[in-house]
């Protein structure tokens, strides 16, 4: 546990150094960017002093890190506003979007993937496998664009974009979140279906499944009682990887549906050269990824007794 936590911190430390170093290679003066063309040299100097960009890089790095430890993402170079509430707000949006998409993806992928594995020699299996192959190959922004074009513009069923927090209006939230979740979730479903299928296929070849059947379980029972839990082990790994990929991959869908998530904020900040925002958001994303991997490892240990270090019973 301590070892894992140590790794977590080490990874984050290295990542933060990388991010800081890469972003400070950026050309251009943050002060000019923030104040625009009308600013006087005095105003620029004031701004630099205020944001500390006139100090040595190592000091700036230290300040940044110290701030992060206090849960302070710093002040935007662009707006001068405190980034923390903004970033937290955006994280919420992205996490909701990713969470719901993942739920949708799993709701589709687990039954379909299992079915595809069980029926892997029949037409059903071929259709599902082919469908998932196709789903993986279609970019999610294409799905999004088509959804907007047909469901929103032509049929006028759901809003073309935007975001209403669930706290404001649950029905409006659902109306707005449906299409982005479908765009993000279905493509993920295709990806995860393939993993579920192969994991279940893998399990289907396991000796213990045969043992269970020899003991009198039907094929289906054996698969449900012994197969799925064993298949779950690799699937959890995949889910962890996919969450990480979606956190940033969602940016494309966020763009299509005008949802202001963390990814959009990152792209906007990058385009506006708001270095403070970029480096804080990137590190937050990295931290999320690392933490998700950490959780996956924990889950993994929970699921598989072989990974527990507890002393043997016998």
């Amino acid at each position: 546990m301590a070892w894992l936590a140590g790794q977590l911190v080490a990874t984050l430390a290295i990542a933060s150094l990388l991010v800081f170093w890469v972003l400070r290679v950026l050309p251009g003066d943050a002060a000019t960017v923030a104040l625009g063309m009308n600013a006087t040299p005095e105003a620029l100097a004031t701004w630099r002093a205020e944001h500390g960009t006139d100090r040595p890089l190592i000091v700036q790095y230290g300040e940044w890190m110290a701030g992060l430890f206090r849960g302070d993402f710093g002040r935007s170079f662009l707006t001068g506003n405190d980034l923390t509430p903004l970033v937290l707000d955006r994280v919420q949006v992205t996490l909701i979007l990713v969470g719901l998409s993942l739920a949708l993806a799993l709701a589709i992928a687990i039954p379909l993937g299992t079915l595809a594995a069980i029926k892997h020699r029949s037409l059903w299996g071929v259709v599902i496998t082919g469908g998932s192959q196709l789903g993986v190959a279609i970019p999610n922004f294409l799905v999004g664009v088509l959804l907007v074009s047909f469901v929103s513009v032509r049929l006028d069923w759901l809003p073309a974009g935007g975001w209403v927090p669930p706290a404001v209006s649950l029905t409006e939230f659902l109306r707005h979140v449906t299409l982005p979740v479908i765009a993000l979730g279905t493509v993920q479903a295709a990806i995860i279906t393939r993993y579920v299928r192969s994991a279940v296929l893998e399990v289907m070849r396991e000796d213990f499944l045969r043992t269970a059947r020899a003991g009198g379980l039907t094929y289906g029972q054996a698969l449900m009682r012994h197969g799925l839990r064993n298949a779950g082990v690799p699937i959890i790994t995949v889910i962890g990887v996919q969450i990480s990929a979606m956190l940033i991959g969602a940016v494309v869908v966020e763009r299509v549906f005008v949802v202001h998530g963390l990814g959009s904020l990152l792209v906007d900040s990058a385009q506006n050269r708001d270095l403070q925002a970029v480096q804080s958001i990137v590190l937050l994303l990295v931290a999320l990824v690392v933490v998700i991997n950490f959780i996956v490892d924990l889950l993994y240990t929970l699921l598989d007794p072989r990974l527990r270090l507890a002393g043997s019973v016998v």
Binding site: D207, T211, R213, A214, G215, G216, N230, S312
Partner: protein
């Protein structure tokens, strides 16, 4: 259809006792071809029948067909009756489910993978019980513990709470037997149940099987490749070859007077005669004897300790000493975990001792002064702390070569056989004593010679390993080991992965080459019979120690250590019968 030998007894009358299993004209095939060509045999209630055959003969297919567990892409036709339940092949899976685990059950070969790794073993046993009886969860739990007790597991209540990975292979096989017996089946099929186990464990498992089957009056179909096991366990034997029953009958009759050519070959190959070497076997094992040249291998107080997580250690070797004279054929016998593989790695310079000295061909590979602190932190990497210089190490390796157990894994599948065999020659140190190996053409000639010597066809050099059978691959391994004309050949279980008929040939080859080429042979094996067949001297290892050593026949004839005795007793031979 059954090409049974004329001497087979007539099938028993069904009217009297319901046979546990009747198989008639069973054919199994894929769409492309037939694998099992209409076989027939019976297992009476309480009878133990051996189904014997080499790999690919169709014995496991037969078992799976009886259980109704054949792969989807295989189709079976014919008749299978189990304990009065007729015509199982015609039944749907749902109908068979009631029978599986209740009227018939099966124990599989590989205990390591046959249990669900994520569930406690007690629950897995209880599950089978509850499937076929109305009793509640608690009752099933109790019964499971009872069964675990019956199969001889220590502290059964505690064991029931264990996960499979916490049990040894033998223990897992006992759990699987408990599961198979849970509902007192009329037929128990055991498919190579002991192949993956150590000899001493095997003996106990076989004992257990015989006992529980007898107690229940169930029929046992015992599937194996090992004739010796059949002769120990079974009353009748069915010999299967390439999907056809070539011979069946009472064990005593078939083994005493085999009718079919194949059975005769099999029998001949199975009984390994003890080596009779007039020259050495009479000499007491002693390197101090002045009449003898200095030993080519000397291990002095060698220990090897591997670190484990949590600051614990495993002592693979606890201080062994042995000497092997030039030209000797030395057998190292032991079960898994005895330290024989570690010893072998030390000899080859692939690992180094924690303390003690290893001398091979006049080179001292390691001395005592090893920094203990370093030892505790990282795994030892070869080449890290050798006292011997690189040149000396090279000389050792030129002088000592290895043959491995697994004929599949010991050859690089991406290289042509010629390159595999010739690879040791690429090392200039290895060919220092072979002046005729400097040019590529010369090396190719050497490879061709050695391939011929091990009995491989002329075109072998150009082919890839997967184009060869297991026995041929082992020949390739031997060729690679001998191409540099080493003084010592260390063979690690060279025949344990081979079929019986091939086993004898490879052993013959080793013996012949050892004589012809005058190298010292170190044979590492778990099988006392194999070692006895080939070696003049043996050392018996157990848990990192040499418990006994001496001339083979002396150790065999009058073992002094109880472990040697147990090992000898457990080693299946054709002559021994349990009943």
């Amino acid at each position: 259809m059954t090409p049974a030998a004329p001497s087979s007894p007539p099938p028993p009358q069904i009217a009297e006792v319901t046979p546990a299993l009747v198989v008639r004209d069973l054919r199994i095939g894929t769409q492309a071809r037939e694998l099992l060509h209409g076989i027939g045999f019976e297992v009476l209630a309480g009878e133990r029948v051996g189904l014997i055959g080499e790999s690919g003969s169709g014995k496991t297919l037969t078992a799976l067909a009886v259980m109704g567990l054949l792969d989807d892409n295989l189709t079976a036709s014919g008749h299978v009756h189990v304990a009065g339940e007729r015509n199982l092949l015609a039944r749907s899976d749902l109908q068979l489910v009631r029978l599986r685990g209740a009227r018939m059950s099966m124990v599989f070969q590989e205990p390591m993978t046959a249990l669900d790794p994520l569930r406690r073993v007690g629950a897995q046993v209880a599950e089978v019980i509850r499937l076929h009886s109305a009793g509640g969860r608690a009752a099933a739990r109790l019964r499971a513990v009872e069964l675990l007790t019956e199969v001889g597991l220590p502290e059964p209540a505690l064991t029931a709470r264990a996960y499979p990975h916490q049990l040894s292979g033998g223990q897992r096989q006992r759990v699987l037997i408990a599961m198979a017996l849970a509902n007192d089946p009329a037929l128990l099929i055991a498919d190579e149940p002991t192949t993956a186990l150590d000899v001493t464990v095997q003996a106990r498992i076989l004992e257990l099987l015989a006992k529980v089957v007898a107690k229940r009056g169930a029929g046992l179909l015992f599937i194996t490749h090992d004739l010796a096991l059949v002769s120990q366990v079974c009353e009748r034997v069915v010999v299967l070859k390439d999907g056809v029953v070539v011979e069946q009958g009472a064990v005593a009759e078939v083994f005493a007077d085999p009718q079919h050519e194949y059975t005769r070959t099999l029998l001949a190959a199975s009984s390994l005669s003890p080596r009779l070497s007039p020259l050495i076997s009479a000499t007491p094992y002693s390197a101090q004897n002045a009449d003898h040249p200095p030993p080519i291998i000397r291990l002095t107080d060698v220990t090897r300790r591997y670190p484990r997580p949590g600051g614990r250690f495993v002592d693979a070797l606890k201080g062994i000493s042995l000497e092997i004279a030039p030209g000797e054929r030395f057998g190292l016998v032991g079960e898994s975990g005895s330290g024989k593989t570690t010893t072998l790695r030390l000899l080859a310079g692939l690992d180094m001792p924690t303390s003690g000295t290893v001398e091979v061909a006049g080179v001292t590979l390691a001395h005592t002064p090893v920094v203990e602190l370093v030892e505790t932190t990282t795994e030892t990497r070869p080449g890290q702390r050798f006292v011997a210089s690189a040149a000396e190490l090279a000389r050792v390796r030129a002088n000592l070569q290895l043959v491995f157990q697994d004929p599949m894994g010991s050859l690089n599948p991406r290289m042509r056989v010629g390159n595999i065999v010739g690879e040791p020659l690429l090392n200039p140190a290895n060919r220092a004593d072979i002046p005729e190996a400097t040019t590529r053409r010369e090396r190719r000639a050497l490879v061709r010679d050695i391939l011929t010597a091990v009995g491989l066809p002329n075109d072998a050099a150009r082919r890839y390993p997967h184009q060869f059978s297991g026995g041929q691959r082992q020949r390739i391994s031997i060729a690679r080991a001998l191409v540099c004309r080493p003084k010592v050949l260390v063979a690690d279980e060279p025949v344990s992965a081979l079929d019986v008929s091939v086993r004898a040939q490879v052993l013959e080859l080793l013996a012949r080459l050892a004589d012809e080429r005058e190298f010292t042979l170190v044979l590492v094996s778990h099988d006392l019979a194999v070692v006895r067949h080939l070696c003049d001297h043996i050392a018996v290892m157990r848990a990192g120690e040499i418990v006994e050593h001496g001339p083979t026949e002396q150790v065999w004839a009058s073992p002094k250590h109880e472990y040697t005795m147990a090992l000898k007793a457990a080693t299946p031979t054709m002559s021994k019968r349990r009943h």
